[in-house]
Assembly symmetry: C2
Homo-oligomer: 341 residues x 2
DNA sequence: GTGAAAGCGCTAACAA
DNA sequence: TTGTTAGCGCTTTCAC
């Protein structure tokens, strides 16, 4: 049932090479218009579909690019994938999405599979601050762009949210509401998001002249609701606990809500909570979540553009870091602190 | 930098064919143990990675399977993808995920791209009840399994939730609470989910001896919150409106909540709402959503198994339809109907 | 047990 | 403008 280029050529009575030229818009001019027309018609008639594998073998290009995601079920990533697709849709490239499940063994296998398929480039959302795969890929000059997370070593271009600006907005918002004791539930410090937000929090506390002792930090081992609960418990164990919490992401913030609930503290009347990312449904939680809106689609768009640039001109060593502005979305989980008793 | 089989063979001083046999576990026995060892060692040392494209060209297998999803940002699908990956992770196959954005033009292009890559099989989550692509693929005997949605024509094996059982549970739950006027917000009727749930609703109403006139149906044009609001408005425009609504999915149910809110009706005190799918965060909405839990991961697992079977033995004509049981999760959006005034 | 040779489907350089 | 040739990297008969 499979129809090959040779079949089309035979049908028209031309050489396969000629048919090839006719079929490829870039080389079509090397063939007479009538021949081209007849080849196209025959291809259509026979239902010819080029074999990308064979072409790739010959041209040493697969016209596929790999998107490596830590967890597809984390709603942060699909919109980034969408943005990437949006850009790639206009190009000849196909996107292959793989999911590593936050498992380095799986990641290794997935990447091996993509490389074996001769992917022309990678968009990587799994990077750790210190990431052996990224370093190795950079060494081998594989076209690659990091998204959302960056590495400490600036070896590779990256597109992410501006953590500093974002956290600053969140803290300023709380200070403006009257909070002086603001805590931070920090995400995993081996990820640039966790580390960057933590650093930005310390900065913002300092800039607002808040007492460090009033502004404790609890470190969460993972970006999960469970870890958020644990962190909140830790913060509430302190004598004069904070009246507001800046969480490392939305899931941690949801965990904080649960932690407050356990202690019969109300949000926002007793403690305000700010999330990060603005994943779907954050406007539907109870209370609705004040959070920082990460421009997820735009991150994908920008990353895809950078990658296509890099594939088109691999010689340039590009280590640009594009930080996109985030926007604080004020909802129901933040309010003035309770009056001191 | 790329190292090929020929490089490995040269390093060891054997013929490429021999190296090939040594590298492939299935043919390794055709080679002496010492030779095999030396080849493996050299491959390791040189960092050899087989070129899947070249192998696929020769063997006419790509060892990749395509997963076609209508909308990655719909949280229903990533867990299905996870289930698929779980099974494929143990096999030699790699999963390529593509997103059609509910756009048939995009879908056509994506499928063409996958076929051009010689995918060995497809898992399709985009099927319409009457789907030309599915029919065509069935004709060409492409190994394929449908997930979540099925086609009217039973041409292809499919794995989905048991709509009838699920909707029956939902309606019975409401009847048990005392509801007699139960409405349905039906999803798109060109999808088996929308149609099946609608039919199941009618059945359940009949079986419970409820008056058809008291149990109106509003048809939503899409599975979206927006469409849910519109449908709810339509239902509330009726004189003695229903005291409970079975929504075609969770997003429609959320829209129903908004529609009630517009009219200052409370859920569940004035009107109960049941969703479908149990997407993430449905326990966090306000009120928390009573909904039907679709076994998403299991759907993916089962589909992947079916597909691997089918690839292993393409001769069998398998049109099994596996319907997985769903479970009603009772939360805060359902309660007894208000007392008649 | 190993080597030789052919070919998967396609494209790119070159020749006619 | 068209055809010829060679070869991408791999596997697989078939000789040896």
């Amino acid at each position: 049932v499979k129809v090959s280029l040779a079949d089309v050529a035979r049908e028209v009575g031309v050489h396969p090479g000629t048919a090839s030229k006719a079929l490829n818009p870039a080389t079509r001019f090397r063939v007479s218009a009538p021949t081209a027309r007849r080849v196209l018609a025959a291809a259509e008639r026979l239902g010819y579909h080029p074999n990308t594998l064979a072409r790739g073998l010959r041209t040493r290009q697969s016209y596929s690019i790999g998107l490596i995601i830590p967890d597809l079920t984390n709603p942060l990533f699909p919109p980034i994938a969408r943005g990437v697709e949006e850009v790639l849709g206009d190009s000849a490239y196909t996107l292959l999405v793989v999911n590593t499940d936050n498992d380095s063994r799986r990641q290794e296998r997935q990447i091996a599979a993509l490389r074996a398929r001769q992917c022309d480039g990678f968009i990587v959302a799994t990077a750790h601050r210190d990431d052996p795969f990224v370093e190795q890929a950079a060494e081998q000059q594989l076209p690659m762009v990091l998204v959302n997370r960056v590495t400490d070593a600036r070896l590779v271009p990256a597109v992410a949210g501006d953590e500093t600006q974002a956290v600053t907005e969140a803290v300023d918002h709380l200070v403006r509401l009257g909070h002086r004791r603001i805590a931070h539930v920090a995400g995993p410090q081996e990820l640039s998001t966790g580390f960057g937000r933590y650093r930005a929090f310390l900065d913002a506390i300092g800039r607002n002249q808040l007492a460090g002792a009033d502004c404790p930090v609890a470190f969460a081992g993972a970006y999960s609701e469970h870890a958020g609960v644990a962190a909140m418990r830790e913060l509430l164990a302190r004598p004069a606990h904070a009246t507001a919490v800046v969480a490392g992401n939305d899931l941690l913030a949801l965990g904080c809500l649960d932690g407050l609930d356990e202690r019969d503290l109300r949000c926002p009347q007793d403690v305000s909570v700010v999330g990060f990312n603005d994943i779907p449904m954050m406007s539907r939680t109870s209370p609705s979540m004040t959070t920082i809106q990460l421009p997820k689609r735009e991150i994908g768009v920008e990353a895809a553009r950078l990658l296509l640039d890099r594939i088109a001109d691999p010689s340039t060593i590009d280590t640009r870091r594009v930080l996109l502005q985030c926007r604080l979305v004020v909802r129901g989980s933040t309010a003035q602190p309770p009056q001191e008793g």
